[in-house]
């Protein structure tokens, strides 16, 4: 009848405010923005961290993700993202069954057997992640130890790491955070004698990564790396002269792990939209002593290009009222972009967690009295949403069609995670994603609304 106590490993997973001060920030801005921040508890309608596997397995091209979990986990990954397009994915689930639970089978032997079968089938793998799930956390399978043991057996061909993507600890994009954090202890160490280097942290589309690489090179920043790298062998090295820029707003644990290795975070808003990208690049430029005219010369043309391509959607989106359901933690930077560069009005910005320090720059740029709701009670939120009658709702896949059927236009939040949207060249694409529901509504005959049946 009684719940088991939480496993000891869970404690660090929640970004409690008290832990924020561990994160150093060179230009720590006061966290108190003009926004109104409320928190809410109740039923959540969000993915768990396992979902991150869907993009991470494409990003790190010689990595495999083995979820140690239940049939539900396997079903989630294969159906949630509609990933059945990949006939041979680099992820799988080791499904725990009753023999494992009853102790008839030794879990570690079973895991070794499954991993060996996998490695046999995919001899090209270089990096294997054992990914913890809700059941594996609750029954306390120690995947970190299993990873050490398996690594010992399989090195140097395959390195084995472990992280948790469980839904009792992680929400959606926090799975990427946990994955990247697990990579950090294994990064090669640099000494204090190493030249100052820049690390961009957070999975980005390859094309976006290449654009940023070019921009940094043109500014004269010589040593630039990206975490995660596209191949296991190319992961960056780290040391006291590493400066890092977060490319994604959800990397709490990764940031902490990087700082434990001596890296220093550069405070910046996130590279969404012309303005966000400029500020983000400027943070690196300032740290690396790039002369203002050089910065100007490098960024001027792409910034103007971004502004022009965003402006194309201004008329369609300005004054439109937008409501965010919590999903990816990208909500606050997205809201900042939409309000400042497209003139949209923010009705409510829901976010699963709000990392006040990483988002300090973003919060300061929001219009005053923006309502930010951290956490979720989905039914209450739906009530507020219906009452507010926004022009556009950003929400998860479970809510989108039902809201559309009620006549409320939606944008799937998962598309914002899966589409390359960062940087100058993608700013117009990002705006277009929000404009598309309106364009579509205009294209479709109004007759369709009356004639709909399902």
């Amino acid at each position: 009848m009684n719940a088991v106590p939480p496993p000891a490993t869970l404690k660090s997973a929640m970004p409690a405010d008290s832990q924020l001060d561990v994160l150093s920030c060179t230009t720590a801005a006061p966290a108190a923005g003009p926004a109104i921040i409320q928190s809410e508890r109740g039923q959540r309608a969000v993915f768990c961290g396992l979902t991150g596997i869907v993009w991470l397995h494409r990003k790190i091209q010689d990595a495999f993700f083995l979820v140690v979990g239940s049939r539900t986990c396997a079903h989630l990954i294969q159906s949630a993202a509609g990933v059945m397009i990949f006939a041979e994915p680099r992820f799988a689930t080791a499904i725990i069954d009753e023999r494992d639970l009853a102790g008839i089978a030794d879990i570690n032997d079973e895991l070794d057997r499954v991993v060996n079968r996998l490695i046999e089938r995919r001899p090209d793998l270089k990096l294997l992640f054992l990914v913890g799930s809700c059941p594996s956390e609750v029954i306390k399978i120690d995947l970190s130890r299993a990873a050490l043991r398996l690594s010992r057996d399989l090195m140097p061909n395959v390195r084995v790491l472990a992280y948790s993507g469980s839904g009792i600890e992680t929400t959606f994009t926090q799975g990427e955070d946990a994955c990247l954090a697990s990579l950090v202890p294994g990064l090669a160490a640099e000494t204090a004698a190493a030249p100052k280097s820049l690390m961009v942290v957070g999975a980005l589309a390859d094309a976006v990564e290449d654009q940023f690489r070019r921009l940094f090179a043109d500014m004269g920043i010589a040593h630039v790396s990206f975490l995660p790298a596209r191949h296991a062998a190319d992961m960056p090295s780290i040391g006291p002269n590493t400066r890092y820029l977060l490319a994604q707003p959800f990397l709490t644990d990764t940031a902490r792990a990087l700082e434990e290795r001596g890296a220093v975070r550069l405070c910046a808003p996130f590279p969404l939209g012309a303005e966000g990208t400029t500020e983000w690049l400027a943070a690196a430029a300032a740290e690396f002593g790039v002369a203002p005219d050089r910065f100007e010369a490098v960024t001027d043309a792409p910034r103007q290009r971004a502004e022009r391509s965003v402006a194309r959607y201004h008329e369609r989106l300005s004054t439109k009222r937008i409501f965010f359901f919590p999903d990816s933690q990208l909500e606050v930077p997205m809201a900042r972009f939409l309000s400042r560069e497209l003139g949209m009005q923010l009705v409510e910005v829901g976010t699963p967690y709000l990392h006040r320090q990483h988002l300090a720059g973003e919060l300061a740029m929001l219009p005053s009295s923006t309502l930010i709701v951290e956490g979720q009670d989905v039914d209450q939120q739906l009530d507020r949403c219906r009452a507010a009658k926004p022009d556009l709702v950003v929400c998860g896949l479970g809510l989108a069609n039902p809201l559309e059927a009620e006549g409320i236009a939606t944008k799937w939040s998962i598309e914002l995670v899966f589409t390359p949207v960062q940087g100058y060249e993608q700013a117009g694409d990002l705006a277009e994603l929000f404009a598309r529901p309106f364009v579509r509504k205009q294209l479709l005959s109004p007759m369709l609304e009356d004639a709909s049946c399902s």
Binding site: M1, N2, A3, V4, P5, P6, P7, L10, M14, G42, Q43, R44, V46, F47, C48, G49, T51, V68, S70, R71, T72, A74, H75, L76, Q78, S79, A80, M84, A87, A92, T93, A94, I95, I96, D97, E98, L101, I107, E110, V114, L118, E120, R121, E137, I139, S166, G167, E169, T171, D379, G396, L397, G398, L399, A400, N401, P402, E404, A405, S454
Partner: protein, 540 residues
């Protein structure tokens, strides 16, 4: 612990969701962590439902585990009742909540809600989606229809003179493979036959409808995977006979009509004389002769796999070279069906094993689920989807039943469409060197798909992919002996060249047969002669 690349079925609580979501006035409170809410999108995205599934999740987190998750569950039940005011509720736990051993049934009955609250015990680490759906439906039927059960031993009252016989259609759910259209087709068929449908359940039924299941004269089990336990209980409790024939294919539909008529006490002859499908003539017409003995591998849930294999063999003249199911609960039925086709049944929910078996059989057509579609794509074999698990494409906008006479029409098209058309196949055989007949080419009516392949390399690529996939699978499954290629005769250059003249989609089979022949006859070097000797030996 089982290594799973793809799963055929979700966990049992997803089966329960399929029941609740199909019904009206039912609500499901599921003790589950937040990640489990992904299941909503199966219904809103894959099936394009315009409402959220009627499911409340407790979405407990790690920090709740030290506290009172039981209280969390109770408040979720209370809030769900207040907000949704359902006629009845089902309550249960998903895999993670099962481990923390709160007692959803006991906790909710302590709330004394003024509606029936039906507890579900769905063991997540043993059972799967279809079992979960069947168990849920059975529990709901017992609780809601039970109170109107006649006294034990009481006989069913006679049907009033002149009244039409009535039946219930049992088994269709949300997210079912073509359930929506099957129900329409069978309801129309029954109506023309003179039988009234009392209740369709669970799809479209309210708890009040479930309560009057006993009023029908008999039950039709459309999908045994879901409805059989409930139908058996109704038979025992209300004395309602069961119709178990699955009306997929012309022959099975006619048998179904005959069985229904017998149980309903009506004459099926006039109906059968009038109603039919285009399938029989389409299949007899000469342009279908190219289908003769084409090798087909069938895999799916038991109901669809058995029915489609029979249809493929008896109504299209294909040769069933493999028949299998992931529904272990119906292994016996599938084994019997496989014996009819002279093959050994494959009972497995291991995608990798199914992949290996398909590669081993060199089918010319695969009829399976979305998983087998991937396998077939890898092997370069045409494929049609005939069973769940489903994909958004399996909910077509058009009317597309599998059952009844219209279902047979749909199936004729579905099964034949992926294949080369008859004369096209002949021409490809004859003029392989023609520059426009590049090897690895898709059927001309599927041009769009074919043109996506890089054509110049298509020949070797497709074949190599197929062959290397096969090798990989065999290695992975620890029976390399099955693949004779590794150990036997070597090919002369001429023989290798001659082999290339055989169209790619049968080349694998030709290679295999030749090597098998060489092996059996102790031929060390395969020449052009050996190739044709083998061809003569194996026939087609």
């Amino acid at each position: 612990m089982q290594l799973t690349v793809w799963t055929y079925e979700g966990p049992p609580h997803v089966g329960a969701m399929r029941i609740a979501t199909g019904m009206k006035g039912m609500h499901y409170v599921l003790h589950a962590p937040q990640g489990d809410t992904y299941a909503d999108l199966l219904f809103t995205m894959i099936e394009r439902r315009d409402q959220r599934p009627p499911v409340t999740y407790t979405t407990f987190q790690a920090r709740d585990l030290g506290g009172d998750t039981a209280e969390l569950f109770q408040s979720a039940v209370r809030d769900a009742y207040e907000r949704f005011r359902p006629q009845a509720m089902i309550v249960g736990a998903s895999c993670t909540a099962e481990l923390i051993q709160d007692d959803p049934g006991g906790l909710s009955s302590a709330l004394n809600l003024p509606i029936p609250v039906i507890p579900l015990e769905l063991p997540s680490y043993q059972k799967k989606e279809n079992w979960g759906a069947a168990e849920t439906f059975y529990r709901i039927v017992r609780v809601l229809a039970g109170p109107s059960a006649p006294a034990p031993g009481a006989s069913r009252p006679e049907r009033a003179a002149g009244a039409r016989p009535s039946c219930n259609l049992l088994g269709p759910t949300a997210l079912g493979f073509r359930h929506r259209d099957d129900v329409t087709e069978i309801t129309r068929l029954l109506d023309r036959l003179g039988v009234t449908v009392n209740v369709v359940a669970p799809m479209g039924a309210s708890p009040a409808d479930i309560a009057r299941l006993g009023e029908a004269d008999f039950n039709i089990v459309l999908y045994p995977e879901i409805a059989l336990p409930a139908a058996n209980w109704l038979q025992k409790t209300f004395g309602q006979p069961l119709v178990k024939t699955t009306p997929i294919g012309v022959g099975a539909t006619r048998a179904f009509v005959t069985e229904v008529a017998r149980i309903a006490g009506i004459d099926a002859a006039p109906f059968l004389a009038e109603e039919s499908s285009r399938l029989p003539w389409y299949s007899r017409s000469v342009d279908s002769t190219y289908l003769t003995n084409k090798r087909v591998f069938v895999f799916g849930d038991a109901t669809h796999a058995i029915a489609i294999a029979d249809l493929a063999a008896n109504e299209l003249g294909l040769k069933v070279v493999g028949l299998g199911t992931y529904s272990r609960e119906f292994a016996r039925e599938v084994r019997e069906a496989a014996a009819r086709h002279g093959v050994e049944a494959l009972i497995s929910d291991d995608y990798l094993e199914v992949e290996a078996k398909i590669a081993e059989q060199h089918p010319e057509l695969v009829l399976g689920t979305q998983m087998e579609r991937h396998i077939a794509k890898r092997l370069g074999v045409p494929c049609a989807v005939i069973s769940a698990p489903v994909h958004v494409q399996d909910f077509p906008a058009r009317y597309s039943p599998q059952m009844g006479f219209e279902g047979a029409n749909v199936l004729f098209d579905t099964l034949v469409h992926p294949l080369m058309m008859g004369l096209e196949e002949h021409l490809l055989h004859m003029f392989k060197g023609d520059f426009e007949f590049k090897d690895g080419i898709a059927p001309s009516h599927l041009r769009g798909e074919g043109s996506r392949q890089p054509e110049p390399q298509a020949e070797t690529q497709v074949e190599r992919q197929a062959e290397s996939a096969e090798a990989a699978i065999v290695v992975a499954n620890d029976h390399p002996a099955k693949l004779s290629a590794a150990t036997v005769a070597t090919w002369t250059q001429d023989a290798e060249k001659e082999l290339r003249k055989i169209p790619f989609f049968v080349r694998g089979k030709a290679r295999r047969n030749t090597e098998l022949f060489a092996n059996e006859n102790h031929v060390a070097v395969i020449t052009v002669e050996t190739l044709y000797d083998a061809k003569a030996h194996f026939g087609r």
